[in-house]
Symmetry: C2
Subunit: 68 residues, 2 copies
Amino acid sequence: MDTTYQVNGMTCGHCVNAVSTELTALPGVTDVQVDLATGRVTVTSQGPLNADAVRAAVDEAGYDLAEA
Amino acid sequence: MDTTYQVNGMTCGHCVNAVSTELTALPGVTDVQVDLATGRVTVTSQGPLNADAVRAAVDEAGYDLAEA
């Protein structure tokens, strides 16, 4: 399943890599696609994601998950 | 001695790290200070730096050295 998030503060390819690395490390995540221009992040996972874990991963990368 | 350069295109702390890492690896360089807001990069070295090597290092990091 795919879940789409909005991440604020990414400015360059390094930012994209940081966010992708943290989200890819979450249990069940099989793919992460980031659109730098829009901040839209699509996470592909084997099942529903824990929202707090996603938020914590984005925070760990140094960015903010926008409120849905 | 300190030499100051203008580097274009840095947008975040990851960019600063990338430029710093490449410049620090140059022979004779003992310190690199980057001001993200202005793009000003101050390189401290034991002697005069090779301009082509500095330009190549900045390019390797993925950014552009502004013309003096």
